[in-house]
């Protein structure tokens, strides 16, 4: 059985039924982890797009200079 002892303050943990509170914590943590992983993947992708935009802008500037 998973225990919440040590995760929650003693005053809060003592008010919870002993059984199953760890499973509830596990379910919510898993959900939070899935959302966070997704957001992290989105952030990595965004970084890649930003890099491409910078590259594109730099190349555009180079091309403009060459034509001038």
């Amino acid at each position: 059985m998973i225990s919440l002892a040590g995760i929650l303050p003693t005053s809060v943990a003592s008010t919870l039924p002993n059984s199953n509170s760890g499973y509830v914590a596990a379910a919510y943590i898993v959900f939070l982890a899935i959302v966070l992983i997704y957001v992290a993947i989105m952030a990595i992708r965004l970084g890649r797009v930003e890099r491409k935009v910078r590259e594109l802008s730099a190349r555009e500037r180079e091309k403009d200079r060459e034509t001038v």
Partner: protein, 226 residues
């Protein structure tokens, strides 16, 4: 979507989740039979409802794509199904955690609700390989739309079949047999609203990212950089 509305949607989602979690842990009473374990219900059931609704909405968007031939509908359908699949994975994991605590098993094969959800999840897991196995973008969009419509029609049929099934042990939340007290019902609907908002926000972010990438590719092509 413009960024101010995306920002507003994100703030609304964050506020809704704070309210929802506060209600779950500080307002909703502890259920007599399940005890504290019942708190998983406010996460698992909204996830399942939003995920299944997303599959159906993806099918409706695919119909709009086939009717109008507008590629934006295909993109929306793809994003909604993609997000529903992620939510579906969360449904299976949180459901398994609940089953382990309540029934003593991570998975029960003779329970129609669990198995039917797994079938739907596996069905949609084939959507992306099918989609990206086709190189021609127009054919890819058309085939993906046909798949989304067929599978989207299967979702409510499957749901009804499970409801009509006589022997089940999975608890029923909404329906004639449901007798949730007011505070629990309120908490449940707020959680459902928060989950729907999260789904919409993540879909909008994904759509914005995909559109930006498409625009970037097009711009590179126009400038002759690719």
């Amino acid at each position: 979507m413009r960024s101010p509305s995306l920002r507003a949607l994100s703030i609304a989602t964050a506020v809704a989740f704070c309210v929802s979690l506060s209600l779950v842990f500080f307002y909703a009473p502890i259920e007599a039979e399940e005890g504290f374990l019942q708190k998983i219900f406010y996460l698992h059931v909204p996830l399942a409802i939003v995920s299944l609704s997303g599959f159906v909405i993806g099918g409706l968007m695919a119909i709009a794509h086939l009717r109008t031939r507008d590629q934006r509908w295909d993109l929306r359908s793809y994003v909604v199904i993609h997000m529903s699949l992620i939510f579906g994975a969360a449904v299976l994991i949180t459901g398994s955690i609940w089953a382990r605590a309540s029934w003593g098993h991570w998975w029960v094969w003779n329970e129609p609700t669990l198995v039917s959800f797994l079938i739907i999840f596996l069905l949609y897991a084939t959507y992306q390989p099918l989609r990206f196995a086709i190189e021609d973008p127009e054919r890819q969009a058309r085939y993906a739309s046909v798949f989304a419509i067929t599978a989207g029609a299967f979702v409510p049929l499957n749901f009804m079949a499970v409801r009509l099934s006589a022997s089940y042990v999975h608890p029923r939340v909404l329906g004639s047999s449901s007798n949730l007290p007011g505070p629990m019902m309120l908490t449940f609907f707020v959680s459902l609203g928060a989950m729907a908002l999260l789904f919409a926000t993540l879909c909008c972010y994904e759509l914005a990212a995909k559109r930006t990438r498409i625009l970037l590719k097009a711009r590179s092509r126009i400038l002759g950089f690719q």
